[in-house]
């Protein structure tokens, strides 16, 4: 199986597989959010569900639209988009709406919009353009300068504070950097420097972020505080057993023991209601999607497109791994949504945009 998964030869058309997977994920997403919005058998928050349906429709439209936009335009616009992105983040800082202790949203025409999600996609364009050059530009131009420019973005997001997204961006920098023509040792050196620097960075985290990291190490330290979510999540996942408790029948979900269950902890709901088998099917679908993105990347001749696809695959992978890892208590709770499933408009929109770009690259 391991070799099969790793096989990088074109079989069924990648675009078709990805679309089929996406349809399946959309159904799973809507049904899981529908279930998680129930409380003790009552559909308590219909409004949120209706909003989500609207977001799904918009996302599919965006997917189709983006699949027709020639991706080379992003090469030309990369730096401009990056500048706009920075402006938007500053706007969030100045005029943004805050919720759950974080200031992440901009209200545009009645919609709450999260620029930090958008900055993931723009960062991929930016990095793909910077690193798409076929020659080694040297340590400063090839590594330090792009990193410094990226840090502007990262720090603005840390300030919101949205630690999860900020870490994802830093991670993307190194992954796409490794894939570039630059010498690997530039980036290895920077990683070592970052590790040395990280304890100082820890001191600058918000209290709740520090707490989350501490609780990650010992969830029982605070059974009613931050650790509560992890404990309840584990109970929910474990009690699903092989086949799950059935749709709308997850007791942890229905009796309100799981906070944030339609957003960051949606995987818990799926694992509780559909069991180990359901979770495995979900993971397989993710593997299909990422595999096909990497497959297209491998046979891609355009350096820029290739780096975009690698960045996309990495972004998807990080989201899935960190999100599921945190619901299982093997990674800290950093507030990253589950790809294509979690409630949250901007996140869905951005993911679909990326897949639209993927479809376009594939068609070219």
């Amino acid at each position: 199986m391991f070799n099969n998964i790793l096989r990088l030869k074109p079989g069924l058309k990648p675009a078709k597989i990805v679309i089929i997977c996406l349809i399946f994920l959309t159904i799973l997403s809507l049904s899981s959010i529908y279930s998680s919005l129930h409380q003790a058998g009552e559909f308590s928050e219909q409004e949120i569900f209706h909003k989500e349906i609207m977001w799904v429709v918009i996302s599919w439209v965006i997917l189709i639209l983006f699949s027709f936009v020639n991706y080379r335009i992003y090469f030309d616009l990369a730096y401009v988009l990056y500048a706009i992105n920075i402006v938007l983040l500053i706007a969030v800082d100045l005029f943004g709406r805050s919720a759950l202790g974080a200031q992440r949203w901009l209200n545009i025409g009645g919609f709450n919009f999260q620029p930090s999600e958008l900055s993931k996609i723009i960062t991929i364009f930016f990095l793909a353009r910077v690193f798409s050059s076929q020659t080694d530009k040297g340590f400063f131009k090839g590594a330090i300068l792009p990193f410094s420019i990226l840090m502007l973005n990262v720090l603005l997001i840390v300030k919101q504070p949205d630690l999860g997204t900020a870490l994802v961006l830093v991670f993307l920098f190194f992954l796409i950097g490794f894939a570039s023509a630059n010498k690997k040792r530039y980036f290895i050196g920077m990683i070592i420097a970052a590790l040395i620097f990280s304890p100082f960075a820890f001191n600058h985290l918000k209290d709740y972020q520090k707490k989350r990291l501490v609780v990650f190490l010992n969830p029982n330290a605070e059974p009613l505080g931050a650790g509560y979510t992890i404990i309840q999540s584990k109970i929910a996942i474990g009690s699903g057993k092989l086949l799950g408790k059935g749709f709308l029948s997850g007791t942890q979900n229905q009796f309100n023991f799981l906070p944030e269950r339609h957003t960051d902890f949606i995987f818990t709901v799926i694992a509780e209601e559909w069991g180990f088998l359901g979770a495995m099917v979900l993971l397989m679908i993710y593997i299909f999607i990422i595999n096909n993105i990497l497959l297209v990347a491998r046979y891609q001749k355009d350096n820029f497109a290739q780096l975009i696809l690698i960045g996309m695959a990495c972004l998807f992978f990080i989201h899935i791994f960190i999100n599921i890892g945190m619901t299982l208590g093997i990674l800290p709770v950093v507030g990253i949504p589950l790809l294509f499933i979690s409630y949250g408009g901007t996140h869905l929109l951005v993911s679909f945009m990326l897949l639209g770009i993927f479809l376009n690259i594939y068609r070219q």
Binding site: L6, G238, S239, F255, N256, F257, L294, A313
Partner: protein, 567 residues
């Protein structure tokens, strides 16, 4: 396409597939291997038992008068999860509102806390109006938790006898393995402890579904609580009260018993305490615990004291049985006996006296001589036969047994002849509980049978068989000789207990004044009517001054119950 990029993509795949395998293995571990464990935890999460305390069995006296029963009380409880962020502020406010100490609320909270969702009683036993007043003020943050509460009809009078109940929380670690829950009440000391298994019943409760904020969202079923069994005692509540009134104000104990079968009619110890206050928490109770007069001590069975002259009948019986003495044997009393340089005193100069006269006058010199004839070993072995260093087996816990100088005990110094003399008049190494000496003297009422004292009459309306008595190997004839003398102690004009004669009860008995470092202890042990004894009484006054004080208490008690026609 460079091959280095190709390799990069392949290693990227390896990394992410490995990472996904880690997720798979974790899921396998949580869902398949530990699935059942988490399923149980999930159920415990949302299924809760709202405990319904069982009603504890009632305790009746021999005539069906209720001594202890459960009545509903109102407690104020909080649900920890609901108040987790504002606990301190809420307790502060509650304390202020109810004029209580925050400290005691906090203590109750910590002591009774079980989990985040089970209500914790923080204020116990308030009246209904006050409970609703608090609920009105604090709304959903508190709830009224009605619970049965133990109530004692004659609290001071029966405190030592019945004991009291307390929530198991304070001893929970120890009791867990016996199936107690922290909110359950457990009998502490007395009848409540001894018969706890019968009295306690089985707690029930409502099985409910709750959501994460502890709100009830469904009802799954009910487990009915089982009432504890009622028990009735051999106690006569009127005698018990008369006994308490008679001894009121004097440190000591009074026991009144059926001579034939060992049924206890009354058993009081003074000073006493109020068992009703134990359910309310510790504040009032510390007064009892710290009182230097030790009101919690049951002086009738849990303490031992020097016997004084009440020991003499046993010495007499021993000497008669060992043929060291005839009833007619006389010794001359000059008011003292010199042994070497030491002088051993008597109360009076009795001149020549036989055994009868010596007992009636309680002549020390006579018994010094008898003691010399018998020696330490024989006297001690007879004391042992009479049960002065053994547990009587009365159904009250923590009975203490007496000390007598049998060869096996460790002495503080060498045994001198003077010690033998002291032993013969019940001083020195002879210390017993009032119950023990009462049972020993009762043997003279009972043709040499040592009865087993007991308090239980019926459990759940089923008669409890009386324990069997043991016969001492002392001839009836010798028993009768001593018994006659004991009758003379009260009923003759010279007897030391003649003060009781006007009661016309034909009492046989013996007084004792035991020397201590402080004021002497006063004793009186007796039985009546002498021909066919039915009742045995023991009065003990700790540092009471003399036996005369004990006689006064006995007189007052017997007069009272005679007036009430209880005999």
């Amino acid at each position: 396409m460079s091959s280095s990029k190709d390799n990069f993509i392949i290693s990227l795949k390896r990394i992410y597939v490995t990472a996904f395998l880690v997720l798979c293995v974790s899921l396998l571990y949580y869902q398949i291997i530990k699935g059942n464990y988490y399923l149980i935890r999930a159920k415990n999460n949302y299924v809760r038992v709202i405990p319904e305390r069982s009603i504890r069995g009632k305790i009746f006296d021999r005539n069906g008068v209720t001594l202890a029963y459960d009545k509903p009380s109102f407690n104020i409880a909080v649900i920890p999860y609901q108040i987790k962020n504002k606990k301190n502020a809420l307790l502060d406010e509650l304390a202020k509102f109810c004029n209580l100490k925050v400290k005691s609320l906090n203590r109750n909270y910590n002591r009774k806390f079980q989990n985040f969702f089970t209500p914790v009683d923080i204020i116990a036993d308030i009246d209904k109006k006050e409970a609703f007043r608090i609920e009105e003020k604090f709304g959903d943050e508190v709830l009224i938790d009605p619970q049965p509460q133990r109530y004692y009809a004659y609290p001071q009078e029966t405190a030592h006898l019945l004991g009291y109940v307390k929530e198991a929380a304070s001893f929970y670690e120890r009791l867990k393995k016996y199936g107690y829950s922290p909110n359950e009440r457990i009998g502490i000391s007395g009848i409540e402890q001894y018969y706890d298994d019968y009295l306690r019943g089985v707690d029930g409760g409502d099985l409910i579904e709750v959501n994460s904020s502890g709100r009830i969202i469904g009802f799954l079923g009910k487990l009915n609580s089982v009432r504890g069994k009622d028990i009735s005692l051999t106690i006569d509540s009127r005698m018990q009260r008369a006994a308490y009134e008679s001894i009121d104000g004097k440190k000591g104990a009074l026991i009144f018993m059926d001579s034939k079968n060992g049924e206890i009619f009354s058993l009081v110890s003074y000073p006493s305490f109020d068992p009703n206050s134990f359910v309310k928490g510790k504040d009032e109770v510390t007064n009892f615990l710290n009182d230097k007069n030790k009101p919690m001590q049951n002086r009738a069975i849990q303490s031992t004291f020097p016997l004084g002259s009440t020991f003499k009948p046993i010495v007499a019986a021993a000497a008669l049985q060992e043929n060291k003495l005839k009833p007619s044997t006389t010794f001359i009393c000059n008011g003292k006996l010199n042994i070497g340089k030491a002088e051993f005193e008597c109360e009076n100069v009795h001149n020549d006296e036989n055994l009868y006269e010596a007992l009636v006058h309680s002549c020390n010199v006579y018994f010094y001589n008898v003691g010399i004839l018998l020696g330490r070993q024989i006297m001690a072995s007879y004391a042992e036969k009479f049960g002065l260093n053994s547990i009587s087996g009365i159904d009250i816990p923590y009975e203490k047994k007496g000390t007598i100088p049998v060869s096996s005990i460790k002495l503080r110094s060498r045994w001198y002849l003077g010690d033998t003399l002291n032993l013969s008049i019940g001083q020195g190494y002879t210390e017993c509980s009032p119950l023990e000496i009462m049972l020993a003297i009762n043997a003279f009422a009972n043709d040499g049978f040592l009865v087993k004292p007991h308090l239980i009459k019926t459990i759940d309306n089923i008669e409890i068989a009386e324990p069997k008595s043991n016969k001492l190997d002392i001839s009836s004839q010798n028993i009768l000789i001593v018994k006659k003398a004991l009758l003379g102690v009260v009923e003759s004009d010279e007897g030391t207990s003649r003060m009781l004669k006007p009661l016309n009860l034909s009492i046989a008995g013996k007084t004792g004044t035991a020397q201590t470092n402080g004021r002497p202890h006063g004793w009186f042990v007796g039985f009546f009517p002498a021909d066919e004894p039915r009742y045995t009484i023991c009065v003990f006054l700790e540092n009471g001054g003399s036996s005369y004080e004990a006689l006064k208490v006995a007189y007052s008690f017997l007069e009272k119950i005679k007036e009430q026609q209880l005999l």
